[in-house]
């Protein structure tokens, strides 16, 4: 079992990073740390995806020296997906950061539990 994990070390690393990011986002009370957790989580998925597209011994999918055989190059689709994913991830991070700044201006803390409690008192 352990040897399989070592053999697929990119995927293993990606899953460990995903778990770290997921738990940070879910359990950490600090908004900035939550955003960092989210970025770790997203990056781990992109690592997983990129590792799926890599084929040892093959080149980047840019036609050089007139070689057009598919066997010469790595799979370009995961790289395209990773780029798309990064764009989405950046947008989400930007919105979350903007939101954190707004919340800090209103409640003077980045602790989500405290923010929720203060907002609850406002409603009452």
């Amino acid at each position: 079992m352990f040897s399989k994990w070592l053999l697929n070390y990119e995927e293993t690393t990606a899953v460990i990073l995903f778990c770290i990011g997921f738990s940070t986002m879910l359990f950490n009370r600090n908004l900035i740390k939550k955003i960092i957790g989210m970025d770790i989580m997203d990056s781990s998925i992109y690592l997983f995806l990129a590792s799926q597209g890599y084929i040892a011994g093959h080149k980047a999918p840019i036609v050089t020296d007139g070689v057009q055989s598919m066997e010469a190059y790595i799979n370009p689709i995961p790289a395209g997906l990773v780029l798309t994913g990064i764009v989405v991830s950046v947008s989400v991070s930007a919105l979350m950061m903007a939101l954190s700044i707004r919340l800090y201006h209103v409640y003077h803390t980045l602790d989500l539990d405290k923010i929720v409690a203060l907002a609850g008192r406002e409603e009452v």
Binding site: F18, G21, F22, M25, L26, L31, K34, M38, M41, D42, I45, F48, L49, Q52, I77, P78, L81, T84, G85, V88, S91, V92, L95, M96, L99, S100, R102, L103, V106, Y107, L112, I115, V116, L118, A119, E122, E123
Partner: protein, 494 residues
Amino acid sequence: MTLVQNFPAFCILLTLVSAVVTSVLRRRSAAILTGVVLVINLVLNVMTLVYTLQTGESYVYRMGHFPAPWGNELRVGVLETGTAVVLLLVVLFSYLGAYRRSSQRIEPTKYNLYGVMVDLCVLSLLALIYTNDLFTAYVFIEISTLAAAGLIMAKQTGSSLVAGVRYMIMNLLGSSLFLLGVVILYSITGHLLMSPIHDAVAQLAANREYRIPLDVTVALISVGLGMKSALYPFEKWVPAAYSNATITSSALLSSVVSKGYIFLLIKIYVRTIGLPVIEALGITDVMFVFGAAGMIMGSVAAIRARTVRMMIAYSSVAQIGYIFLAIGLGTMDGLMVALWHLLAHAATKSMLFISSAEIDEASGGTHLRKDVRGAFYRSPLAAFAFSLGAANLVGLPLLSVFVTKFMMGQTAVAVGGRHMIVTLICLAVSTLLNLGYFMSTAMSLYVHDGEMVRRKPDHLVRFSLAGFLILNLTLGLCAGPIYQMFLSGFSVFG
């Protein structure tokens, strides 16, 4: 290819262009453009529905005519267009009915950006309904999340910002689980288009290969989309989001945003993985348990709510429970019931939100004990619409949710065993709880409490409430033919 076949793709592009243009317009022009684009989308989708009904088959639209695996596809059939038409009607009525109230609560210079968010919600809804590509679905899930967060935070009060951030956190966790599921599925099948994945998964299941990755994939996708749809116990963001957002936002969130995710989940079960494989993996049992718990716990929370909006918000959790319980039955009939309830709930819940806003205006608040008593004498149309919505969700015969409950019971009996017993008990308990909070509220609207000042709603609100009433009555009184139409769509959905 006929002209009509291009309409779904055109609608998506049109809404995208509208979102960009709306961002630079003034408030009034932005509001008009968003409304006009909604009407155009509706008309084009009705035309596509008529076309698909005539042909009786679904068709694949290749974006840019590139074949798989490089190309991106839309798949259009009766089920997709029918769902799009009903949900677009709900969006249109919600948008018009709450326009004045929502625009008063949003900074005038930023109302155009609110229009952008509405456009993006519609865009992602259409894309999720029509897309045949899993990664495209992920991208539009994220667009939908960002747009929905914008809608929640539009009032820019502290509470709405907090509601927005809680919504974002829970939904981003769901999106990431979904993406990881898609990536694992891609790594074991080599495809992102749904139909080729279906063939590859069937082969893997037949050869008993990649059993654990398949299990993990289906679990990740189901839980991810469940979290985003406010499935119990991932519903903690719901009350704050629905009660602190503008009324348009609440109506759109409850009836459109979450429904897009559920439609996608049904599509993944039927078209991508295949129901026999899903059933063999046992994930439907997990959905069944979550759904049953949601039906009861959502209603219990609704009983304890102090305002009408909170009550409607918690009731959404219960209704989402109905949908997931039907999915959890693990049969095609169960999925059809889930789809029907998706539409019935969307039409009813938005009507409840819009009518409660009008009752709020007429009564000066929506506190369940203080404000809503005698609201019928202050705002008859809104009170009647609220009563009809409440009666519908309780499951009164001749209305659409009755069809859900009847068909769900029938499907559960056909499935038999523990599923049948749990479903029937949950249906009975949930109906009693619904009666407890919805009918008591509806009845209090008709209590004459001294002198009442009648308030005449503006023409947009009247148009919206009349539209909702017609839509709900049509879904209830013409349930047979409409259900059959969707059933025929289901046969070519996979």
